[in-house]
Structure formats: C-alpha cells, structure tokens
Point group: C2
Chain length 233, copies 2
DNA sequence: GAGAAAACGAGAGCAGTGCTCTTGACGACT
DNA sequence: AGTCGTCAAGAGCACTGCTCTCGTTTTCTC
C-alpha cells in the first residue's frame, strides 16, 4: 500500500488521499448533499476536471467516503470491544453500543451516509460490504464467546422463531458461530434496536421528547443485552 | 378546506395540490435527491419561476411532501389498528408493525425522506411534528388500552430504568397514559426496534443475509410485543 | 362601475453543479 | 532519444435553485 514504485504513483496516491480528506471535511460540515467536486477541486487549487482523473464520478468519491466511514465505525467498535476483558461479555456489548452511538454523535453526517437513506440511487454494495460488516463481526464474536463460555443464559420468555427462519439464521450464524436459531433472532432484534435508537436520536425523531437520550439509551441497550442472555456483573 | 371563496383561491389550491402530486410521483421514482422544481414545472406546462408563487423554495416543497408522508403512514397505521378488535392488544400491535413495514416497502423513497437522513440541512420540525406523531399516538393508545384493561403483564426479567429517566418518561407518557416508567422504557425499545428493523431492511443493511425478512420481521415484532406484556391469543 | 392593489405567468439572467472533450506539457519506460 | 501514457487545464454542455422584471389578469375598495 505505502510507497508506490514510481514517483507518479506516489503523488497519485497522495493526491487521492488529499481529495478524500477534503471531501470528508466538506461532508462533515454540510452533509452528503452539499458535497461538491468543484468545491473540493477549488480547495486543492486544481481545476474541476482534474478530479476526474482520480474519481470517475461524484458517486465514486462518495463510495470511497462510505467505505472509510464503515472502517471508522468498525475500528471504533473494535477498540471499544478490545478495551474490555474477554470474559466480560455484557461489558463488551455495552461498550460496542456506546462506541456506535458516540461515533454517530461525533460524525452525524457520516453516520447518515452509512445508515441513513442511500443517497445516490443505491450504492454498489460489492466494495462496501467488506468494510460494512466490521462492527457486526465484533458483535458476533462477543455473542459467540459468551455462548462458548456457557455464559449466554437468556430468560425463557420469548417464543421460538418459526422453522422457516433457519435458512436465514444459517447465514447470520457465520459471524456468531454456535448460536441456536432463537438466539440468532434475538441478536438481530438487539442489533436493529441499537441502530434504530441511534438513528431516531440522530435524525431528530426524539426531538423535544427525550431530552436525556444518554440515560435512556444506556438502559435500553442494557435491556437488549439481558434479553440476549448477557447478564452483567 | 374545500371551495375557497374566490376563483383565484380555488385554482391556487388546485395547482398547489397538482404540484405536490407531481412532486410526489417524481420523488417515488428518483428519490429526494432527484426532485427538481424545474422538472415539476415542465410537466405542468409552467415555467420554473411560476412554481415559486406556490412554494417559496425547494425545501418548502419537500417539507410539504414530508408532512403528507407522515400523514400517509399515520393513516395506514390508524386503519390497521382500527381493523382489529379493541381488546386484541397484541393483534393491534402486530397490525401496526406490519402497516409501517408495508407502507415503507410500498413507498421506499418517502420512508427514506421521513425516517432516513434529514436531507436539506435539518427540516423545520414545527410544522411536521403534528403529523409525525400520528403513528406514535396510535401506538400509545394500544399500550394505554392494554394497561387500563389490566392486560399488560410483561415478564419480570428486565432491570428497572434509572430514576433520572422519569422526567423523560413523563413526556412520553402523554401519549400512553398510565404506564409506569419501566413500561415506557420498554415501549421506546420496541418502537425503535420496529423502525430500526424497517430501516435496516429498506436501506440494504440486510442485503444477501436476510433473504426472507418478512418472517424474521414478524417474529421479531412478536418478541417486542411479548416484552411489552402484549401476550397474544 | 372605475381605479388601486394584489396575485399571477412568462422570460431573462445569475451562480452553481456534474460531466465530457480537446489541447498541450511532463514523466516514464524501450 | 523517441514513443507512449498520464496529467492539469480550459472550454463547453445540460442542468439545477433562485431572483428580478415586465405585462396581464383577477380581486378588493371606493
């Protein structure tokens, strides 16, 4: 990755990085709708058409920012998870929840780009999925660790999922090996609950109703963890 | 509302409605980003500047579409709720869930406009909140009905919310009178879980993983209902 | 009913956008 | 040394939101 062979490749990599850096700054300030190739070029002292040597279209630049965003939130989640002892499964879950929310609050426009409406007529998912699942992989590992340690003891108050769910559960189980179908279903509920909450809070659905979202968020995520069987110490 | 006094007011109301209708059609086809005032004017046989007599800016037109959208999903939810017997609280909850999801699948771009990223630099919430809470009011009424009937018997497996949650619970309780704080907290979890799921499904987060989202959705919402104490018959 | 006032559609125009094409210069390989 | 590919620059196209002006038409007021 670093130090391309020729000088041309080196300066090209550097300019590409500079473009994405400036674009990310513009994105953070005015959002995805206000990201302008010409403005980026202007700030770089280039003419607008020169940008197209590096990104074939505006959507490609946005895709690059999306991938960077997924990696950023994935890294934040990985770090939060790694900072907890491996056997503190409940603590790791809560750390992941707060990492997602904190990152979203710090980078609202980037979060909107990742988990909000798909802006430019449905992005190409092929390049992005690899980066998009980093946080999910961490989440799955927590559950798999807890299950392997026999620490996943969910309360027996929910109905089992229908048999037709098993084929989908098979695919989800790839990131949380060993979990039975009913726990896979609960894992989906908790995961969508996490992002549903963050989206509601960030997109203004809680406006003038929930004035202390941090408290309610923490409690809600703790409940989701309990339902997963992650009994906190 | 109907039949304004003068002929001018009548044609003005009709043209305003025609603009929003065409705009909604364009929105449904190409999304909010592709909505163009000039294209709407072109289809109406007007010149672009004439539109500004009816909507001072593109954002105002979008705001009108947002309000219409909130009313549409609110009406769908109200109808789904009304089609069930009043005492079938669990059935009403499931009907509301499916109404939200069905409407979202039928109007993906409109759903994205309402519950996705706030597009034009944060909309003015003042005009929209009145319409935005229609579905929430239905949801709250179901829970209040169930609670009043003594049918809200949630499993005792979750920790109580912290005391500092009570002031926020006070505001939420306005739409679900009588519910204690811990049930208000569960209501928030279920509500965000519903929209979190629909957003994940609609925005492509489930792509190539959950291939039968209808089944998983139904089961997940049933679980949310159980946790609320809505034991289905 | 005549005149003032407001509302209206049309048109030109400004500043901005994504994107394409061509031109001329520089760097990299044979 | 010469060829070839890459590069920045510029002009230009079609489009956008929005503003302003100019006649026309409708409404309100006297």
């Amino acid at each position: 990755m670093s130090a391309g062979r020729t000088a041309r490749e080196r300066v090209r990599a550097e300019l590409t990085r500079e473009i994405t850096d400036i674009a990310r700054r513009h994105l953070a300030v005015e959002g995805a709708a206000g990201l302008s190739l010409r403005a980026v070029a202007r700030e770089m002292g280039m003419v607008s058409s020169a940008i197209y040597r590096y990104f074939p279209s505006r959507d490609d630049l946005l895709t690059a920012l999306i991938i960077d965003g997924y990696n950023a939130v994935g890294e934040a989640v990985e770090n939060a998870d790694a900072a907890r002892p491996r056997e503190d499964h409940a603590g790791r879950w809560m750390a992941v929840c707060h990492a997602v929310r904190d990152w979203a609050l710090a980078h609202p426009h980037e979060y909107a780009l990742l988990y909000g409406s798909p802006v430019p007529g449905y992005k190409a998912p092929d390049d992005t999925v690899a980066a998009a699942v980093r946080d999910t992989v961490v989440y799955g590992r927590i559950l798999a660790d807890a299950h392997e340690a026999g620490a996943l003891t969910p309360p027996d108050v929910l109905p089992p999922p229908p048999a037709s769910f098993s084929t989908d559960a098979l695919r989800v189980r790839e990131v949380m090996p060993g979990l039975p179908d009913d726990l896979v279903a609960r894992a989906l509920a908790a995961w969508t609950g996490l992002f549903g909450w963050v989206s509601f809070e960030l997109f203004g659905q809680f406006n003038s109703v929930i004035l202390d979202p941090a408290t309610a968020f923490d409690h809600t995520m703790r409940c989701h963890g309990m339902l997963l069987g992650l009994r906190s110490g």
